[in-house]
Symmetry: D2
Subunit: 359 residues, 4 copies
């Protein structure tokens, strides 16, 4: 569950920070006590999120050093809240003076102004993707706990066209659960353009799809009705900047199949009940069934082009906005660790909540 700037229930993150304020950060509440934190691993996750992933670079180069301020003593969690900050260092706020009274197209400039009557125009303010750094901190800690519970989360950009074609012929042999690494449960076969190796032409940008596979979640995780694991994942993932679509298992491709084609038939694997296929994406009735949990996320093209675009000022006048600095042409490579982080927060929260399911 999320509310404003907080997500999660027993394990929660409350985050803060504008792109060009002094710092971003957050409070992680509900981290179980007694967990040894691997700070190197945490900084590794931060590095995955930084600009310049996948050969596509942005102008801002933050060291993104996470300073943990509480909740950890001698590297071990205390069970108390973990406060942390990441200083904003490479700000160049003056780069944004020309945007003070201007609303860029397809940005949150106008919507924040409409909501609050005021906004921080520098680098997108609170709406900047910079806030995702706080998500990665919480996600990295969640992952470390999940790892001890035998759960791993791996996201990757959908790109391998050949595998995608296989999926479109739905059958037990090449069902989504068989496709790992290259595509997870890729479900929009004919439609996706393989843009992994594209380079931005003429300052243009593009989006992409991220597939995520969560392994090791036991059967029984998630809640009935509104607290379905699929719903919680949808909320968490769709709260990532630029996320515009979410699907679980076969997702939208379910529409192209009859019920008889996409039932997940039962099988006994290693003495345990499992399914032959995994069209459901590991969740039935909102509760995990023990299979891999698989979902896809669609990200729109980055709205900041490196070419002149037309904006509007707060008086309603058209304004041409010249590109400044450098920006990512595609958000997807950097979004991958964020997708994993959000999934990790949801899964850990639900693993903890589930401890109360039975007496």
């Amino acid at each position: 569950m999320a509310h404003k700037n907080r997500i999660g229930n027993l394990f929660s993150l409350t985050s803060f920070g504008e792109s060009h304020g002094p710092a971003i950060g957050g409070v992680i509440d509900g981290m179980p006590a007694g967990v040894t934190i691997d700070m190197e691993q945490l900084q590794h996750e931060m590095a995955r999120r930084r600009p310049g992933q996948g050969g596509v670079t942005s102008s801002r180069s933050e060291p993104d050093e996470v300073e943990i301020l509480s909740g950890v003593m001698d590297g071990v969690t205390l069970g108390t809240p973990i406060g942390f900050i990441i200083r904003n260092r490479d700000q160049r706020s003056e780069d944004y003076d020309h945007l003070k009274d201007v609303y860029r197209p397809s940005h949150a400039d106008y919507t924040y102004q409409a909501k609050y009557g005021i906004r921080d125009h520098r680098g997108g303010g609170r709406a900047s993707a910079r806030e995702t750094a706080a998500r990665v901190v919480a996600g990295a800690l969640a992952k470390q706990v999940l790892s001890q519970l035998g759960i791993t989360i791996t996201a990757s950009q959908v790109s391998q066209v050949s595998q995608v074609s296989q999926v479109s012929q739905v059958s037990p042999e090449n069902s989504p659960s068989k496709l790992e690494g290259g595509g997870g449960s890729m479900t929009h076969p004919s439609q996706y353009h393989d843009n992994t190796n594209d380079t931005p032409s003429q300052g243009d940008t593009y989006g992409g799809v991220v597939a995520c596979v969560i392994k090791g979640v036991p059967a029984g995780i998630g809640e009935p009705a509104f607290g379905k694991l699929s719903a919680q994942l949808a909320e968490a993932i769709m709260s990532i900047p630029a996320a515009k679509g979410f699907e679980i298992g076969l997702g939208f491709d379910f529409v192209n199949h009859r019920g008889s084609e996409v039932l997940d038939k039962w099988v006994i694997k290693d003495g345990k009940i499992s399914t032959m296929t995994n069209f459901s994406g590991g969740i039935q009735g909102g509760i995990s069934n023990g299979n891999d949990i698989t979902f896809n996320v669609a990200f729109k093209p980055v709205a900041t082009l490196m070419q002149p675009v037309e904006g509007i000022d707060n008086q309603g006048n058209a304004v041409t906005i010249e590109p400044r600095g450098r920006h990512d042409a595609c958000v997807v490579p950097r979004a991958i660790p964020v997708v994993e982080a959000m999934a990790a927060i949801v899964i850990l929260d639900n693993m903890l909540i589930n401890r109360a399911s039975r007496l």
Copy 2:
């Protein structure tokens, strides 16, 4: 925000009920005081959700009479919680005796058993789509409030292939915001099968896509970071039984376009800032921009076939399950009022929350 069997914050629904228990129902907390309730309209919404929509019928015929137990006096809301129940009358629970120790494929039988160590096997228990009746009650009341605020919510099944083709050529003239009625912001052009007029053959089932358009939401609704309106809608919608995908605006189709093609350019309409196109689906940075909010939902085919299917019993033995009674071949027609209900709950909740945005 949702947690277990509750959704919403200032305006919330907490629901209860198994398909074959004495009743289902819920508590609507936070209904603003002083609203005159139109009970006829409410029952009309209930009728839209009942089996037998669109010529496709199910065996169960519930009158679905809503009994309001509190929070309303002389037809006007008191501001206090509205408790309500709907009796389960046409139950035929003995129809389900053969499922007591059997897990049907792609149902929640096994996952509930794994979670709780016990389950109500009759008609799907808590996982039955019957629980959506409570959603429609809350949604109907929310809609009546929203209507006074000038907001309407209309969902419909995606079917008009001709319009769909138009959308695939993205341009200002035929952008999603122009497509209403037949398809909302239809975004998966090549892929959807028009199954509206299909009849179930050989006891098989199918799914479908529902498009939803919300008109009249002012700019500024939704919260930053985790409380994005798009994220809250995703959670609410994906909590509907059988929902497997959610996309907002162009959604997954964003992937097929360059940034320069899908920026929503500004325009002054009726003296107000608006956009020429609406690829964003009315939400930027998680906050409404005043345009129509448009999203699509994918529903999987109904998992209960009217033909023999293979299940497994709790000892791991394969079991053939013969069809009994009659069931919907497609959930989509009945899902439409549920989609509208969940959207209404989210929008009203956020309209109320937004009252606190400024001093």
Copy 3:
């Protein structure tokens, strides 16, 4: 944690109902699965709350039959939400017609009107003590779970003056933890009037103090900072109608002692760390220490007198209100099971939350 008409987090009650509407009731969410419910015990708790306790009677005689609508099958909890209703049968709503536009002194008539612009004037509406019946239902179920965990909750009216005097001489031998039954941790020695055996004279009313002892809570229950067990108990208890004071352990009497007099010295009991005295009331730093949790609650005199009182109408005119029907002269006997219920809800919720404290 509470919000509007809901209390609790993992184990929660959302209640509804006006005194003279069709029914009151609620939804209990988070009841652990697999618990056998003793309905007789539940009805016994309901009987304890009914008018006519302690020889002091009120006019209304409700059978208070609890109808459980979901979440229980064959007497065993399913883990799904438990919806329940209690019909309002003996209503005599016309008795209240004269109060439609009148605000009684020290009642919630005016405050509800001021908040909502409308109110149900019949029998106090939502502000009636009748809503506590829903609390007792949830509390009775919570108690049944707690009982299996070795936890008991006993409230009683403070009355034995002799014991009270002892407490005022604080010493290990007669510290609060030694006083059970008659007074728990009675802490306002000189001040309380023993009104247990009083009879209402001239239609007047009186209040009283309820002491509560919770036995068997293990050390470690409660949360840091804002979620202190003492704070959660205070909130839950102070939400009971007519509750005006709450104190834990020595409470207000701490003020009369030096620190050196009221430290709870350590001792090893049965091989476990414990304390010789229990001035702290079983909670230190907001977290249980394994000792009895003891607290007191002050209830104000019933505001409905059986003698004429002066009210005011909504035009500002003084109005004399003649007594009608019969009412309790003292709320305390009926409040006892409500105090126990609220304590049970808080303790069970925290027992469940605590399962997530460590990996």
Copy 4:
């Protein structure tokens, strides 16, 4: 509503920090946009909380400089979350090495250890009163908003015995609402020792009562059932370290009076409905009635004496703990701004929530 380290709903504080970690701090979510922050006033509130108030000094001298990291631009709130930190500078952590495996009497050492299996033993860790600095930050901002709404909050130590005596003779002329400054709604007349001018003798400590008066809250604030304003205040106040009792209006003293003596009779003041007396403390049925809201809080004596005390180590051996450093002999002077802060958080949150009461 509170949960773990968070309090509040629309306006909330999530805090973090151990006494001897790098910093304490928090996130204030839901601060309305467009409020000009007076940082000087904020630091003034911090200074009121620092050791050394009222001539009684503690050894630790922190400058308590609040660094605001987000949510404010050019001194004006943005509506986005306000992250802040206060560095811990004057730590002397080695002073606490002798307490690593020792549980002090009436401290939270043992309870934290029992809960988490680990604890920060330095200066009380998370259980230290140092965490209240974060409360004062949020409270100071809430007060600045409330001030614009015409609401003021004033707490003070109960001490003027003469006024106290007056109160014990309850009558309209000297009812609680008449007593300001010196005692608010002082309600335990005979029992309180006036210790304002006491000096600690022989390293001993003492507690005290704080009375708080909130002026300017309009009628209609607070929620029904569990969200009563009195309940929310009780929770917030009882979450302050060392708070052991809470009472509203006449509180425990209600017990000493008949109903006919303590009805708050109506009167028209300045054309508005008001009451002649204020025994209710400004709240009826959990909702404000427009009068002053008055409550008292009891604080226990500081548990850290400046004389040797007996502790126990984690092996069960008795240990004598010698006093080190200097500590406050009475927590009450420093608690006053914390009481005000917690009250301010609750009142602002409820003022915002109430905006949704009516359409």
